[in-house]
Amino acid sequence: MDRFTRVDLTSTLRPILGEGETILAIQDNVGLYDGNEKAAGYMCGKVYLTSHRIIYVDSEQPNTNSIGVEIKLIKGREFYTGFVKSSPKITLKFSDSNNNLYNNNSSPSTSTLSLQNTLSSTWICTICSYSNKPQNIKCQVCGVKRPENLTSSTPPSALSLTSISFAAGTPSQQTITHQSSFNNNIIETSIDESDGIACPKCTFLNHPSMIRCELCDAELGTFKIDGFKNDNDVTLGNRVSGKSKEDFIKLAFRNGGVAAFYDKMKQAMNMKEWEKPESTKSPTDFDPVRGGISGIMRSAEKNKKEQDEYLNQAFKDIESLKTITEEMVKLAQSINARLSKESVESQASADEISNFKTNLFKLGITKDEAGATYHQELARELAEFLENVLNKEDGMMSLTDIYCIFNRARGVALISPNDLYKACSLFERLNLPFRLRKYESGLLVVHLLAHSDDQIAQRILECIQSKGSLSAIELASIEQKSVVLVNEQLQMVEDKGLICRDESVEGIRYYDNLIINYVWKGN
């Protein structure tokens, strides 16, 4: 269990995914076993399989009891089909008992792991002194290859961090201890209370409560502070407390779906999505021609070629399109960015487009991933989407309009009207801040939970009072809403007795209700 880290959730209780991470499968009503015993507090929840992690979101206390584990830490898996009352289970082995893990060269992911471990901190380019990310093999700024001594020569137990920090002249009173606990390194820096913490990069003495160096923003390695979270780095995460006796956990699937989940997990473990950033940049020897402006031009040209290749590949058939979706989306994004720069559209519509784009690429839950929980997931996704949209729309929008913009935002993997309807009817059950409402005319709208008819009525009344009289179409164009929706709202206001209608050959116009309170004293 101690391999699990806390997972941050969105407001609709879905896990926040890292960059390049995608959801592969979701199964609800799953319990966790720590070894062979049930894990208290993690008995019933939803399990998300992403390309990088397995995430457990508790159904009762999602904010405190939601945890995740990186797939790359999983060394073995076992499948148990279940028997009589015992539910089907998947066992995830972390093979901690094998202390020779680092020497185990037969394991497919060992090379990555040792690389990751030795480079859990950034490395500094020897030429330009730029702090590079650990996965970069060449310096991001000058393109110089990472020095050899930082990679292979470092023994697994001693971190590159040490060599860097000592080389940079860390004060000797500071001792850095490394607990090379299996494949995770929990670095604890003994803090000299009087002096504060010396930055391993720049040796600046920071205040003991600092997490990052004030000068160079490097991580200080003080992980004693509660609540410190770091999503990107596995080794620095917020551990789930409790040492486990066993080196495996089990997922009990009480609601079925185990076979599909297992298949997806196998795929994910074979795909090794987390290795991709490295594998795409093949380590080549440093070539002086690659440096300088010519190098930049070369790489721009190369990028262009790659894009062309992607496009060609992608549109060959639908399967390949699926596999390189991510690249395609990135490409689309960059094209979009370029287009919007060049576009001569008005400021308002440009804003709209950029707003739209921010919502655009996060969407895309599909039936394959979610299975039985598809509509619930869709509802959550929709709720996240509507949070941005509905406030502009005055808290109410017709279902057809939502269908339109939601599918436009998704771009691919469009949803059917029926799926949307089902997802919307789940809002109440999932405790999401939206409600589906059916008007007497049969018009379906989605509105904010906090939305109130009185507010709308007041606003419409004021609008009518200022204009004298209005037709539904006029009001719709003033309020920038659909006519059907405005019609419903006018009807609602009329029912309240605030306005009255005037039917003539020109259609219906609405007036302030002078009739209801009119008193005639007689002649």
Binding site: C500, R501, Y511, L514, I515, N517, Y518, G522
Partner: protein
């Protein structure tokens, strides 16, 4: 003709000519219409409302200088008179046909009292008066019931007969009918 009837401002309000679907609004709308009709009929001493004809009258039409024209629809007028019938201020002349109505800007009981008081005041107790004399005679001139619609007059007289205040003697026609008042204060 006397000075013209002055309509209230609501009479110039376009939605006033549409049957309001909201119940509370409609109730007040119908009440306002019946008030206007009664006041208008009292002003012009009218008793009968022929629906088709009167829809063209100034009472149910509105024409403002901005070119907005509204006219009450027949169904709306029928609905208004229906509510008046319920309140006892109107009566359909030949139900279930809704083409003509009697408007009671005074109820028959009130007319009966007025006639009886007139008899007592003019000292015509125990003498016989014809129906024509009551409505159109010289002696009733200046009184409110002068020119009273015959149907309403007969209803008022019926009420007096039932009270035992008067007795009707049949004549050759309605106008020849004689009424003997006993001089009792009804």
């Amino acid at each position: 003709m006397e000075n013209s009837f002055s309509f209230p401002s609501i009479h110039n309000f376009p939605p006033f000519y549409t049957l309001q679907p909201t119940q509370t609004t409609w109730q007040n709308q119908a009440a306002l219409w019946s008030e206007i009709i009664l006041a208008y009929y009292r002003h012009h001493k009218l008793y009968r409302l022929e629906l088709f004809e009167s829809l063209n009258s100034e009472l149910f039409n509105f024409n403002n200088n901005q070119g907005i024209k509204r006219r009450l629809r027949l169904e709306t007028l029928q609905a208004i008179i229906d509510t008046m019938v319920k309140r006892g201020t109107a009566e359909w002349e030949s139900p279930p046909k809704k083409v003509s109505a009697i408007i009671y800007w005074r109820k028959p009981e009130e007319w009966a009292n007025l006639i009886n008081n007139w008899i007592l005041e003019t000292g015509m107790s125990n003498s016989i008066v014809t129906v024509y004399e009551i409505a159109h005679g010289e002696s009733s001139e200046g009184f409110e019931f002068h020119g009273l619609d015959q149907t309403i007059l007969m209803k008022a007289l019926d009420i007096l007969v039932k009270k035992g205040v008067a007795q009707i003697f049949q004549g050759t026609s309605t106008d020849d009918m004689g009424v003997k008042f006993f001089g009792i204060n009804g």
